[in-house]
Symmetry: C2
Subunit: 224 residues, 2 copies
């Protein structure tokens, strides 16, 4: 492992430049679509630097995923989230998921990288998630569970969490096309705020509804 190197001042700066450029590239083009040469060009470092500092393209991707997961799990902007009502917590989660629609920061890159992986999970990603992402997904599942009956199964909570993810990610993934013709939606902060309200409201309604044959069935129908 020649790339498990000592972290010095100068190498740390290079590593950070590379990770930032790589996050953008992976978010824009996916893991396979992003090339070493475009990453080093945007980071303004030599091509061999990636193999020197991260061992391989896969190693760089692992480092990006670690940075991404750390950022996505941090609640630094609202440390009181544990005391929120379930509705407010859900609204906060949805708004956070929708953030890439307007913001062009690292967090939006991270969300997009995860969206790529939901379409065709790479081997790197699957190993990484199995090892480090359990608490992240558990948090969302627990949030969903607060809306379900006490006797809800794990399966129901997982499906509910995925359902919630899907409602958000479709807008994030299609943001560019929503802004263009023929839709021409004005994707400013106000719009996304209202969209978050809408999605959260629909989700609360859906999750809270007791199952009913007349309504085509509910989540309870998924119990074995």
């Amino acid at each position: 492992m020649p790339w498990a190197i000592k972290v010095t001042r100068v190498s740390k700066a290079t590593r950070e430049k590379i990770i930032k450029a790589a996050s953008r590239a992976f978010a824009r083009d996916g893991y396979d679509g992003a090339s070493i040469r475009t990453i080093v060009a945007e980071a303004d470092v030599n091509q061999a630097a990636i193999n020197y500092h991260f061992g391989s393209k896969e190693g760089l991707y692992r480092a990006v995923l670690q940075t991404a997961l750390r950022a996505l799990m941090s609640d630094d902007d609202a440390p009181q989230s544990g005391k929120l009502s379930r509705e407010a917590a859900l609204r906060r989660f949805v708004r956070r998921q929708l953030r890439p629609m307007t913001a062009r920061d690292e967090l939006s890159d991270y969300v997009r990288i995860f969206n790529w992986e939901t379409l065709k999970p790479s081997l790197v990603f699957r190993k990484f998630m199995a090892r480090e992402a359990a608490p992240f997904f558990a948090a969302i599942t627990e949030l969903v569970r607060r809306f379900l009956p006490d006797n809800a199964t794990d399966k129901q909570a997982v499906v509910g969490a995925l359902w919630l993810f899907g409602q958000c990610s479709i807008f994030v993934r299609n943001a560019e096309q929503l802004a263009g013709p023929p839709f021409r939606l004005e994707l400013d902060e106000r719009f996304v705020d209202r969209l978050a309200d809408t999605i959260a409201g629909w989700a609360v309604d859906g999750l809270c509804q007791p199952p009913s044959k007349a309504r085509l069935g509910g989540l309870a129908a998924l119990a074995k």
Copy 2:
């Protein structure tokens, strides 16, 4: 245009073999990820056949998209769909969207190809959709509109249609992972039927709800 060739008996068979193999490959790996060499290997034809029959990889992709759109728009299995209630029509749409979760046929490939394109639309795809897909999307939007108030704007209907797409595609995209650990869901026809009931029910609830501040707002909040 040397590839606008006369359609003979033998060339038609080759074209169909290529399109079928290409659909699988594009669905599995995306446009960039699928290689000519794997496609011709699965189709059991010569490598140069693709450029001969379709001009280029892009030309082949266009042909696949045409086949896909034609299949996705056909209502051959239920010609009475025009007479369905809005709830039944919505349930039918959702069930059709979820079909790739169990079925391993061409239709599931087509849905997956479109899912790839929502993540990073290729130039080929954008041109193609702008030219040929308007009626397809209009049909979904009209279905959503049947649940909205009469004075609903186009913008509201479009957002509602996208919202519906997102709820379905998240399960389709993650079907493989749902089947494996730690979820271990048994994705048989019964499960998908119930899932379609659940999603359709939630969607009906969400779309029908009148806007209400107490419920964090509804679709009407998106009107300008």
